[in-house]
Amino acid sequence: MGKKMLAAAMGLAAALGLTTVSASAFDDALYPDLKGQWRRISPPGQPAFDPSKPRGWAQEAPLTEEYKKVFEENLRDLAAGGEGLWPGYSCRPPGMPPMMTAYEPMEFVILPKVTFIMIDHIHESHRRIHTDGRDWPKEIEPAYAGYTIGRWVDTDGDGKLDTLEAETRHIKGRRAYDATGLPLHSDNKTVVKERIYLDKANRNILRNEVTVIDNALTRPWIVTKSYSRAPEQYPFWREYLCSENNNHVAIGKESYFLSADGFLMPAKKGQQPPDLRHFEPQR
């Protein structure tokens, strides 16, 4: 009787197991728990691309001589009141790799064929990291976020995927590493490789080893970014609207400011006003 009951129970359990396997196409226990809101870990103030070093030259970015000059010129423009090379002043997205600085909080959604990274900063970006084994498209429209192919790896052999390896190509410019205007090459041939994983000792810390391969660099530049998981039960996802209160106005190749009372202002000393030839002469 006992054997019969055991067999029946095992049969029931097996049937239940089969049912649940066929019913659940996505076994998310295979993946690390990246749920929640992730905020960058970096010193206070405007973040640098490498959070372990101060901004500007102290980043020690391995720039070529040509791009050191580009950076210098950008710094002179910034000092004169210009916008330099950072695209964010005119509400253009930072793109890859600076978007992974996480100027605003990040969310990960892991599905079997794609991992989303959502960041609402300047542009409401949804990075799609395709993990379905696809190859690079033959023809592709460049995007600030680029096109990313990734794969999940079980690095410690425990049967659970723990590291997302991603490679991003087809990135569009103009881009800079951070708001100081530290430049990437204008040929936009940048390749970004990432390894994203939870800290082994603290599962509320996420690491991202970012390797940038770019023709403005003398060698690949490797930086590790870290993020902490928000402790709130229901973290707030702010709507970040660059256009809403942006006081930078680009007209042609010139950039101006808007005053608090809505007047156009020069951004640089001695800057010429915009050409108003298309307007009727005012009496």
């Binding site: 197991g17 659940s24 542009h123 949804h126 976020a145 007209i251 020069p266 915009p274 030839r277 307007f279």
Partner: protein, 284 residues
């Protein structure tokens, strides 16, 4: 290995333990049973145009605002539509689905991803209440719940309520206005067509103080037949090629060669009081 059981009670106990262990294992191994949810995968596009049906049941006060907006548009202006400045359309207008829509369902949340002007949404389905203090947003704060309306054991309808909205918002580009108090409440019932699963219907009810009664319309989206293929989701960056420039209360255009242009006849140019005026050449 042979398992010997001396008493039926042992067998029963072991059987139950095995069953329980299996249940626990299967439950923890699959936090997300996607077979419970409808198949909303793929690429969804709006159908039937982006205009809302007319006439809108506007109050007399907001009918006048709408008409003034139409006159402005007729004169070459942009009326009250906020999107010319790269501000989002907000709810419910964003559900016109101006750019392709991808829907990502997790147990806690439904993401509606649209590359347009900040049109994406989070719809919380984790049972949370509306926050007491909500920072208003164009997309608002959306709470949803899944319903199994036909009792087949699978969710088929997402019922959503959105509050905490910010303005200015209009229903479409004609500028049909919503009340400036931004107390709008939007209720949605989103479901697949029962006979054509590549059609999705969104019954949208807007409750707004600019309306004489709740306004219910249905938007329909069509699943792209190419959705089975790897798809290139175009990046739409409004600020990149926006030819509209707002200076003070005036909206101007940029010409192809980057010059400032009026948008309507006799529009005054921006004042240049903050610029150094060119020196006057003396007449000899």
């Amino acid at each position: 290995m042979t398992l010997r059981l001396r008493r039926p009670a042992q067998a029963i106990g072991l059987s139950l333990a095995l069953l329980a262990a299996t249940l626990v294992a299967t439950t923890t191994a699959r936090a997300h049973d996607e077979a419970k949810y409808p198949d909303w995968s793929g690429v969804w596009r709006g159908t039937g145009g982006n205009k809302w049906p007319t006439p809108a049941p506007l109050t007399a006060e907001y009918q006048k605002i709408f008409e003034a907006n139409l006159r402005d548009q007729e004169a070459g202006g942009h009326g009250d539509t906020p999107t010319v400045n790269c501000l989002p359309p907000g709810m419910p207008r964003q559900m016109n689905v101006y750019e392709p829509l991808q829907i990502v369902i997790t147990p806690e949340m439904v993401h509606m991803l649209m590359e347009h002007v900040h049109d994406s949404r989070r719809i919380y389905t984790d049972g949370r209440p509306f926050p007491k203090d909500m920072e208003p947003m164009f997309a608002g704060y959306s709470i949803g719940k899944w319903e199994d309306t036909d009792g087949d054991g699978r969710f088929d309808t997402l019922v959503v309520e959105t509050r905490g909205l910010k303005g200015p918002r209009t229903y479409d580009s004609t500028g049909i206005p919503m009340h400036k108090n931004n107390q709008t409440v939007v209720k949605e019932r989103i479901t697949l067509d029962k006979t054509k699963p590549d059609l999705m219907h969104n019954e949208i009810t807007t409750i707004d103080d600019a309306l004489t009664k709740p306004w219910t319309i249905t938007k329909t989206y069509r699943r792209d037949a190419k959705s089975k293929e790897p798809y290139w989701w175009r990046e739409a960056v409004c600020a990149e090629n926006n030819p509209h420039i707002t200076i003070g209360d005036e909206v101007y255009m940029l010409s192809a060669d980057g010059q400032l242009m009026p948008t309507r006849k006799d529009q005054p140019p921006p004042k240049l009081d903050y610029f150094q005026q060119p020196k006057q050449h003396s007449q000899r």
